[in-house]
Each structure stands twice: as C-alpha cells, then as structure tokens.
Amino acid sequence: MNKLQNNKAWLFVLPVFALVAFNAIIPLMTVVNYSVQETFGNNEFFWAGVIWFQDILQSERFHASLGRQAIFTASILAIEMPLGVAIALTMPRKGPWVSVCLVLMALPLLIPWNVVGAMWNIFALPDIGFLGHMLNAIGFDFNFTRQPGDAWFTLILMDVWHWTSLVVLLAYAGLSSIPDAYYQAAKIDGAGSWAIFRYIQLPKLSRVLTIAFLLRFMDSFMIYTEPFVLTGGGPGNSTTLLSIDLVKIALGQFDLGPAAAMSLIYFLIILLLSWVFYTVMTRNEEQ
C-alpha cells in the first residue's frame, strides 16, 4: 500500500496534542521539577538531586502506607471480582427484569464519591448510623472511628458496595455476548453448570475481566475521596492509604520536594503493576 503524505493532517491532531500537553505533560513535568529541588521559601529553589527519592524509598512511613494500600487493593479485588461475576451470572438474561437489574446495578456508580464517603460515614456511626447501631445491637463492639479493624471493615465494605457494580456490568455484557449455540452444545455434551462456567463462560469473559481487573486495580490504588471522607485516614494512621499520605505531605506539611518524589514513585508503581498484570493476563491468548 502506498501511504499518502499529507502534512496538513497534523493540524487536525494538534488540538489533541495541546490538550494532552496542558492537562498531563506540563503538570507532570512540574512535578518532576519539584522532585529534584529544595526550597526554603521566598520562591527560591536549589538543585537537590535524587535525595527526595532516596528519602521516600527509605522512609518507614512510605512503606507503611504502601503496605496498607497493597492490602486494601488486594482485598477489594479478591472480593469484587468473584462477587461481580457471581452476581452477573445470577442476573436474568432476558425479560422485563433485565432493565430493572441493570438500573439497580448502575445506581452506586452514579453517586458522587464524596457523597459515598459521607453516606457510609453516617451509616456506620455506632450511635446514630443504621449499620453501626445494628452491629452494636447484635453484640459486636463496633466503632469505626476508634478501632482500626472496624475502620478497615467499613472501608472495604464501602468500596465493595460502590464498585462491585462495575465488575457486574462488564461481566454481564460479556455473558450476554456468548451465543446461544454454546449453551446448546454444552447441554448436548452433558456439561454441568460448573463445566459450563469453567469452559464456556469464564474463557469468554477473560477479556472483559482483564479490563475490569485493571480498572479496579488502578482506581483502588489511587482511591482518595471516599476513605478521606469516611475515616480521614484514621484512627491514627491505620487507614492512611498512599494518596491520603501524599496529600498530607504535599498540602499538610507543604513538603513539595518529597511529595513530588512520592507522586512519581506512586505513578511508576501503578504503571509497572498495570503492565505486569496486563502482560500476565493476556499471555494465554497469544499462544
């Protein structure tokens, strides 16, 4: 094929470049800039080299936040992925209930994040919140503002409530696209429901589940608003996830250099893990 050389075509992509430059590249470069400088106020900056990166990578505080972040993300993935698929499997495939189910499922996704945090905060309060009150009424000593375990329980429950729907909707779309012929063949071949799931549904879902996994991984690794509103990172630092810690350093203590270095490390971790997951999960298809 002969490619037509058309330099004017670049003009059409120029707006996109401009947009990307303004909302991604320029802010990112600013952060890079901060991460290698030291300032003592007066808008004076000095070259600092990689000391901020060394500091962050060696700081126990960062390790602790990263650890909490990893536990949080791993927990919600371990719950939301199977739960989402399970719910999608039980949803009706046709009939009037389909749209009812879909709307119900979409609802949590439509609520603003800070509202989700506020809702769950009130919901889980031990004295006036329905959840907190009921838990105490049936004999649990539940107080998420005082006890780290309870805070984690509420935090994970909130995320599961908020985001499992995303997995459900993606899995449901994947299930709906499986032609009837597969189920018919499976019936003729005498496959039970486990075999149908294992050999038909799961393989056909692998693509959408890869997408769901990556979306949930990235989103949960960067989560800020909901835990900030729910627990503010507490009690103590027990629910201080990476993003909450980052904001404390950047805006609470105004340590721009370390905060910038931390942002970059944070960014690279997400990029690297996403790449690893994607490679591992799509490896099978390329064989």
């Binding site: 012929a181 018919q184 003729i188 005498g190 496959a191 050999y199 038909i200 099978n284």
Partner: protein, 362 residues
C-alpha cells in the same frame, strides 16, 4: 438405540398461537426407524432446526409428544435422552485442546479414561484430526473447528440418534464431499440412526436412505430418493428436488381426461379425479420424462437451448406456459415450432398442490 416417533407434534415460538402462521411447525407425525439414515430437506426457515431441537430436547414442543421407542421423552432434558447433535456453526471449547474437546462429552458422563482415549483417537483418525490433537482448539481454521464439533457428536457410543444440522455449511466443497462419505460409511458400519438436516438436495439424496421433505413447517413427503424423484407427492417436492425441477402446468380435467392448453394428454392419475373438484389443478412432469416428437404431441415453441454437460436443457413454450425438457447431448434440436410428448406413467395431476391419489401408479 430406539425408534423415534413424533406424535401430533406442533410448535409455536410465540405465546398463544392462533393462526397456522403462528406455528413454526404445523402438525407432524413422523416415525424415524431405528438405524435409518434420514435427511431432513427443505428451504431455509421451514422449521428443520426447530424440529431437531425438539427431538434433542433443547426445545419443548407447544403441542404433542416425542417418543423414543414407547417411552414419552417430551419432558426430558437433552442429556437424559442419549442423543448427539451437531450444530450448523462450529462450537468449540476455546481453552481446551482438540483432544479434550473430543473427550468432553465422554468425560462429562464419567466414561473411564482408557475408553475415552480409545474413542477419541478412533474418531480423530476418522475425521483427520490426529495431527492436531494436542493443539489448542481456538487456533484451528473454521474447517477444523467444524470437524471438532462433528467429532464431539460422533464420539459417544451410547446414543439413540445423531443429528446433524447443516453440519457442512462452513466447510469447503472438496472436504465437504469427503466428510459426507465418511458419515455415510460410519452409518453403514455402526447402523445408528442419523438425521441429517440440509437445504441442499444433492447432500440429502446422497446421504440418506429416506428423505423427509419439509416446507413452511410441514412435512410434504417422506420417501427414498427414487420415490421423491419418480413420484413427487407434492408440487413442492417436484419443484425443489431435481435440476431443473419438475414442470408444473395449469390443466383441466374433464371426465377423467386431462387437457393441457386445450389438448388432451395422457396421465397416470387423472381418472381418479371426479369432475368439479375444488382447488387449482396442475400437471406435473419432470423434464426427464418429456421428449421432442416431430409427428404428434402437444404443439410447442422452442425458446432456448442450454448445455448442462450430459444433457441439453430445452426450454419450450406451450401457449404461454414454459415447459423444460432434457435431451441427450448431440441430438439436433429444431428451432421454432415442434411437438412434445409426455411419458404417461410419469405425468400426474396435482390438486391444490398435492398429488391426486389413485390411478395406475407406475
């Protein structure tokens, strides 16, 4: 192994069917004898797949019963009926190897692994999948995938019937021919009932001992290929089977004598028809049984001659009705006016589409 009987069967996909058009299958009574090779032949949309799905249990008929021998299986699920069915478009289990695909129906039924291995290798050899047995099924071509589908249908030895729903649609012509002969061969070896659905008459006629011809949800005739050719029970059969199909010509019958375009014509069954019978009357005669006769016969004009290999297809006109006939290669065809003679024992009267019963059948 069992005889399959469809008793007063009807099926409508929609709820509350009222008119005949609401039914995908009109009333059917068919018996498939144990061990027969049947073809279900009919144009697209006539209800062949619906019928298969009812026999296999994927669909429950809205009316009537399915019997295996004398047992009523209408309410049983497919896996309780001991049937195998191959679908029109290939279904393979992507993540499994070819071997595991073929073994799947056996393993689901708890067949010991040693027997599974024996059966899988036997079937793989039959359909030429031996070299790719350990490959992943998803990597195969459409041909290969359809062979797997076919193989999964053939691998079980406990089935009452194997049903093929246009199984060779996506397969290239040469391989199609090979696979069809293999199926035929297999049938002769194991004598298991097979029902082969197709809309292609050549496929049906070469595969089957008995052909069930369907049209718009109805069975129009069940017979051997020879019967369908020599004695079409319905205009549709005459027209649908054979190439070119049967000539179907408007006619009149008076006092047991048929008239074509005002000229008397000898038929095998006009005598059985009473005067004043309702419904349009038509004469059916295959091009094979019409010949040119210069002396006497029905006056006709030759319109066109085309060559189809062994024969010349001559298109003529009697009045304004087209009549086709086959003439052997190498015979001179007159141009313009000529006369046709119809073989009396192969020329029949049809009333309202259906063959008029009685008369001197050949």
């Amino acid at each position: 192994m069992a005889k399959i009987t469809l008793d007063d069967l009807r099926h409508a996909y929609g709820e509350n069917p009222e008119r005949p058009e609401d039914y995908a299958l009109q009333q059917l009574d068919i018996t498939f004898e144990d061990g027969g090779a049947y073809a279900l032949l009919g144009p697209s949309g006539c209800g062949k797949t619906t019928l298969l799905n009812i026999i296999s249990g994927l669909l429950t008929p809205s009316h009537g019963e399915v019997l295996f021998d004398d047992e009523d299986v209408t309410g049983l699920a497919p896996d309780q009926r001991h049937i195998a069915q191959v679908f029109q478009f290939p279904v393979v289990y992507d993540t499994m190897s070819v071997y595991d695909n073929l073994a799947f129906p056996l393993r689901n039924r708890g067949v010991p692994e040693a027997d599974v291995d024996k059966k899988v290798r036997e079937i793989a050899a039959m359909i030429d999948l031996e070299d790719t047995l350990m490959n992943r099924a998803s990597g195969l071509t459409a041909d290969g995938k359809q062979k797997i589908s076919l193989g999964r249908g053939l691998v079980r030895s406990d089935v009452n019937v194997i049903m093929f729903d246009e199984p060779l649609t996506v397969i290239d012509p040469h391989l199609k021919w090979q696979l069809r002969s293999k199926l035929k061969e297999l049938h002769q070896r194991v004598k298991r009932t097979m029902i082969y659905v197709t809309h292609d008459q050549t496929e049906a006629l070469t595969f089957a001992d008995k052909v069930v011809v369907m049209n718009v949800g109805e069975v129009v005739q069940i017979g051997t290929p020879v019967e369908l050719f020599e004695t079409p029970g319905h205009e549709f059969v005459g027209h649908f089977i054979g190439s070119p199909g049967m000539n179907i010509l408007d006619c009149e019958v008076k006092g047991g004598q048929a008239f074509l375009h005002g000229q008397p014509i000898a038929t095998s069954n006009a005598g059985a028809l009473k005067d004043g019978a309702e419904g349009p009357l038509r004469l059916g005669v295959r091009p094979e049984f019409v010949s040119l006769s210069e002396t006497d016969g029905i006056a006709a004009d030759v319109v066109k001659v085309s060559d189809s290999g062994r024969y010349q297809i001559v298109e003529t006109r009697v009045g304004d009705m087209p009549v086709k006939l086959l003439v052997n290669e190498g015979i001179e065809i007159p141009t313009g006016k000529t006369a046709l003679s119809f073989r009396a024992d192969r020329t029949r009267v049809y009333r309202d589409g259906w063959l008029v019963a009685g008369g001197a059948e050949a």
